[in-house]
Symmetry: C2
Subunit: 141 residues, 2 copies
């Protein structure tokens, strides 16, 4: 999770939305990323999507054996990507500032573990208070 | 739908997976795209995602008033993006070669219209027969 938090902080330093993610396979980070809405003008590069993209094209069995760490509860798009690739385990930094599609993921057999991580909560609370407009845009509101 | 089919054919000509999509707002195409797994080595640029990315950052009300045309039934990732952005209407070229998350979308209030378009069906049938490995990779199998 620390690597995902580091990614989120990198995003914040770049003037972006502080959400980070890493994809871990057999104990090794194979993809890391952070939200790039501001930095790349992207509508699809949430933290989880950026980590998946940076992991590159992987065979199905790699995804099936991987764990996705993300600082924030995954939204519908990122949850859909998790389902598409059959990622079976997702570690969530926090789901207090935003609750994504955890119920859908669980109903499809994905194991979720929510850490209620204080560093993740503070980072998002401060960001949402400072930039509610940008945050709402990021979650389609 | 013809614009989405044109995108799919462009992808095929580039050596890629022939799935195309356009996002239409108030009768105007505001984003068009096609699958870029091969062309960009991308794990996330399905046709629908590419169209959303090329539409750029849009306010929520634009998505809510838009229709997404896609040559193929949207997978979990693309369906998740549709839900995230609150796109209420999706026109699907065909769902015979692949059935995506249409039931989930419908259960969340998205209106779907499946055209059973022969051009879309033939294009995917030929592609899947020619490159089953690449196709399976694209849908996480």
């Amino acid at each position: 999770m620390q690597a995902a938090i580091d990614e989120a902080r990198k995003g914040l330093d770049e003037g972006g939305i502080p959400i980070g993610s890493v994809l871990v396979h057999e104990g090794k980070v194979i993809g890391r990323g952070h939200n790039r809405r501001v930095q790349s003008g992207s509508a699809i590069l949430h933290g989880e999507m950026d980590a998946l993209e940076n992991a590159g094209r992987q065979p199905a069995k790699v995804y099936a054996q991987s764990t996705l760490y993300t600082t924030l509860s995954p939204c519908a798009m990122c949850s859909g990507a998790i389902l598409l690739y059959g990622i079976k385990r997702v570690i969530v930094g926090e789901n207090q500032t935003f609750l994504g599609e955890e119920a859908l993921l669980a109903s499809r057999g994905v194991t979720l573990q929510v850490q209620h991580n204080q560093a993740c909560i503070s980072m998002m609370k401060d960001f949402i208070a400072a930039r509610p407009d940008l945050w709402n845009e990021d979650i389609g509101r």
